[in-house]
Amino acid sequence: MKEILGTTGLIFNEPLLWEKGKKGRSGFSLPRRDVEKHPVDKQLGGPGPDFPDLSEVEVVRHFIRLSQWNFSVDSGMYPLGSCTMKYNPKTNERQAARSGFAQAHPLLPQHLSQGTLKLMYDLEQYLNEITGMDATSLQPAAGAHGELTGMLLFYAYHKSQGAPRSKIIVPDTAHGTNPASAALCGYRSVPVKSNERGVLSPQAVGDIMDTDTAGIMVTNPNTLGLFEENIKAISEIVHAKGGLVYGDGANMNAIMGIVNMGELGIDVLHLNLHKTFSSPHGGGGPGAGPVCVRKHLEPFLPVPRVIKQKERYALSEDFPETIGKIHAFYGNVGVMIRSYSYILSMGPEDLKKASQLAVLNAAYIKDQLKGTFHLPYDRPCMHECVFSDKLQEPYKVTTLDIVKRLMDYGFHPPTIYFPLVVPGAIMIEPTETESKEDIDLFIESMQAIAKEAKENPELLHAAPRKTKRRRLDETAAARKPCLTG
């Protein structure tokens, strides 16, 4: 094995913001006062917030030191399953920062905001083409927000058919956001189990699908990294009972240019621009969760919609069956700009190639680690593969120990204990932007950890040692919440 990545360097300690500074300092250049002071209503006036006063140097050092305590895609491989932590191109940041985009007021007259409207219109067209769907709304601000929008579309559709429905089918491999989003629309989740091959069987869906069920939420490829091979048959069963099929597109990175979601019978699909389309995750957002639909659901999409009339772009509210607005303005335009820039940089060939290489990287890891770690579903995988800690059980080593040790080797842990159908799951999604050398180093690190588990499990139990903090007491944090300082 080459030199391992993980090491310790000179990392600084840093107190909390309000433990620094002195009253009277400032890190802000206040604009020149060119108007007189005007009296303020005594009853309404307040003391202002109790913030610490800091100089610019103190603020900069504070946050730079904090930044050094973070793992990030720009520093290393982030194989988080179902999160698609691919490299975030720097040119996208430059494009979004252009003052014409960044400083634009959302309520500008439309003839003075043509550039952004065109960008949004074109991005919708590209996403329609990539997914094989008919129409897109860019308004939802995140994946779960897209799911909520999708469920509102289901609700509006069934209402327009004269009969709202009360249930929704959610597979046991689904993200937690699926049932939570459905619940916001008053739907009761009916679970359906995946079969011994890790996918849904048409019969299992047929057994529970009825005319009070609004439809089904399917993640395809699913969270085991497997393609739902019966999706067409399942869609037919659901449609035959008047239901709709929701596609969770969180795993779209596996199938760009390879599968046409529209042809699978999916009626609504959400995408995560911050996964598949390379906008950065920001330590938890902002993302964007566009919703793509087939023709029959288009009338219900959120408003305003961007329309094109001759060569002019406009925002139109003229869709009487719309579910309404889901965002104060038009969604996360800053994220859209980054993804638009990404799609134009990649073009049709490289978008497809990205999916191919994402799958190749995952298949290679699955092959190389098979035997070292237990592989519950030994089948061709898509862009991610799921192992478990079963082979390490005899050494009293768990998934948590394994991935905490991986931090010392210089990698971010994979997604763990999800999907719930695999006890002790280790879900690895390398993405296409990791080179073969990095993938090999990851594999060697995982093999070294498996060896340590056998020979010196204490190394794993005590991990991580090289991080800013050792394992944190999460139980204490929840029992006696300390949420502000």
Binding site: L16, L17, W18, S26, G27, F28, L30, P31, V40, F51, D53, E56, F63, W69, N70, S72, V73, D74, N88, R94, S99, Q103, A104, H105, P109, G115, E129, A141, L148, G176, P179, A180, A183, L184, C185, E229, H281, G284, I323, G324, K325, Y330, I337, L344, S345, L351, K353, A354, L357, K404, M407, E432, K436, P464, K468, R470, E474, A478, P481, T484
Partner: protein, 443 residues
């Protein structure tokens, strides 16, 4: 392609290892009738130079400062962002990290969010703030759903002086729930008419925005006293949190929940998003709050550290019983906000708020002197309503030609407010530009 590191050799070696003969072969297990046959019909790839030119041309069509003088607020404000704050918010260790589920390697994001929660709670005058919502509108919708959960009632009342777009989002969220929304009219002085509250039953929450959409400061103490039932929550909403550098905070006025848009705090407008949904409440309601929370704890060596906590409220644990479906939030915008608040400090925040107020008062006075009507008498912060003469639409269009955007016409949102415009002035608005505007519109 510069983002795809695989050489032909790498691909061949890896394919050989997995015993598949081509990249296409990786997908052989997908049923034929599920496979896409035609290639993607999107534009051919651009070089970085071509992309720059293309994006530059698109951006150049947008009416922005300094070329345009934009006197428009209405939920999206022009504030100066210090170079240090935008530099820090662009640090890739923050930008390219995932949600901090693995705390040992995410202490930077976690401590920064903890600091954001703390400064937000102090700004809004409440005990606890979450790690962010999407925007002001979704924050309001989640606040009203929370008020329903806490109170176990089925109706909420919302002031018609709450941002019209926030009210529309609220209506969208409520549509399938069976809960009711009642609207409170506004009075001639520009504040909410609290009178109808006494006749409303089953009221779980009352939402008042202050400063409201007309820029007016509401009489929040009176709102608190008008709540018909002690179980009814007072939700104070905002689109301009800088106002609390000058005026009393929502908590000081009796809010149970405060929520709104934090774009003003160091986040570029970017045509309306991403912004920052701010959300704070009294501690006794914490287990009913939506969204992520960061808490303080210690590690194995007893050193102070931070983790995501009280996750039993959240979708990944509670699934359909969660307090919200939110997962990805607006973490990086929250970081930008805490960097901005730290740069200003308490003293700077107050001074900047005062300057915003004085600029708007200057413009108000100048318009009043020029003979225009200011229909609402209540004190305002950095925006206010002006009633112009009947033919003003033409003047407004003419001003656009001169690259002046003279506020937002209110008639699109309030049909009864013909010829009424909402104008905004912040610290970025120069006196000379305000003088020029007034000179241009004097008939």
């Amino acid at each position: 392609m510069r983002y795809l590191p695989h050489t032909a050799d790498d691909i061949a070696t890896m394919l050989k290892a997995v015993q598949i003969d081509s990249l296409e072969g990786l997908f052989a297990h997908i049923p034929q009738d599920c496979r896409r046959r035609e290639t993607l019909k999107i534009p051919e790839a651009l070089t970085e130079w071509e992309l720059n030119d293309h994006m530059d041309a698109l951006a150049a069509t947008m009416a922005v400062s300094p070329e345009y003088k934009v006197f428009m607020g209405a939920g999206s404000y022009a504030h100066y962002v210090p170079a240090a704050a935008s530099f820090l918010a662009g640090r890739s260790e923050f930008v390219t990290a995932y949600t901090p589920y693995q705390p040992e390697v995410s202490q930077g994001t976690l401590q920064a969010i903890y600091e954001y929660q703390t400064l937000t709670a102090r700004l809004l005058g409440l005990e606890v703030a979450n790690a962010s919502q999407y925007d002001g509108a979704s924050a309001l919708a989640e606040a009203m759903l929370m008020a329903i959960r806490v109170s176990r009632k089925k109706t909420v009342a919302v002031s018609s002086a709450v941002h019209p777009m926030y009210r529309r989002v609220l209506a969208t969220y409520f549509e399938p729930t069976g809960f009711n929304i009642r609207e409170l009219p506004y009075l001639p002085d520009g504040t909410t008419d609290l009178g109808p509250l006494k006749d409303m039953d089953d009221l779980g929450g009352v939402a008042i925005q202050s400063p409201n959409f007309f820029g007016c400061m509401e009489n929040l103490e009176a709102a608190k006293q008008s709540l018909p039932d002690k179980k009814t929550l007072l939700v104070i909403c905002f689109s301009e949190p800088l106002a609390y550098g000058l005026y009393k905070s929502p908590g000081q006025c009796g809010a149970d929940i405060a929520c709104g848009e934090g774009q003003s705090l160091g986040i570029p407008r970017t045509f309306g998003g991403p912004g920052l949904g701010m959300f704070a409440a009294k501690m006794k309601y914490v287990r009913n709050m939506p969204g992520r929370l960061v808490g303080q704890t210690v590690d194995e060596e007893g050193k102070r550290g931070h983790v995501l906590t009280l996750a039993t409220r959240e979708q990944h644990i509670r699934r359909e019983k969660a307090t919200s479906n939110i997962c990805t939030n607006h973490s990086l915008c929250a970081l930008a906000a805490v960097m901005y608040m730290a740069s200003l400090g308490g003293s700077g925040f107050k001074e900047l708020a005062r300057l915003n107020y004085d600029k708007a008062e200057y413009l108000k006075e100048a318009l009043r002197k020029a003979g225009f009507k200011l229909p609402f008498s209540r004190p305002t912060f950095n925006e206010f309503v002006v009633e112009f003469p009947d033919d003003f639409r033409k003047t407004y269009q003419g001003l656009l030609q001169k690259k002046i955007i003279a506020g937002l016409p209110l008639v699109d949102f309030y049909p009864e407010l013909k010829n009424h415009y909402l104008l905004c002035a912040t610290e970025t608005t120069a006196r000379a530009d305000m003088d020029a505007l007034v000179k241009e519109i004097i008939p």
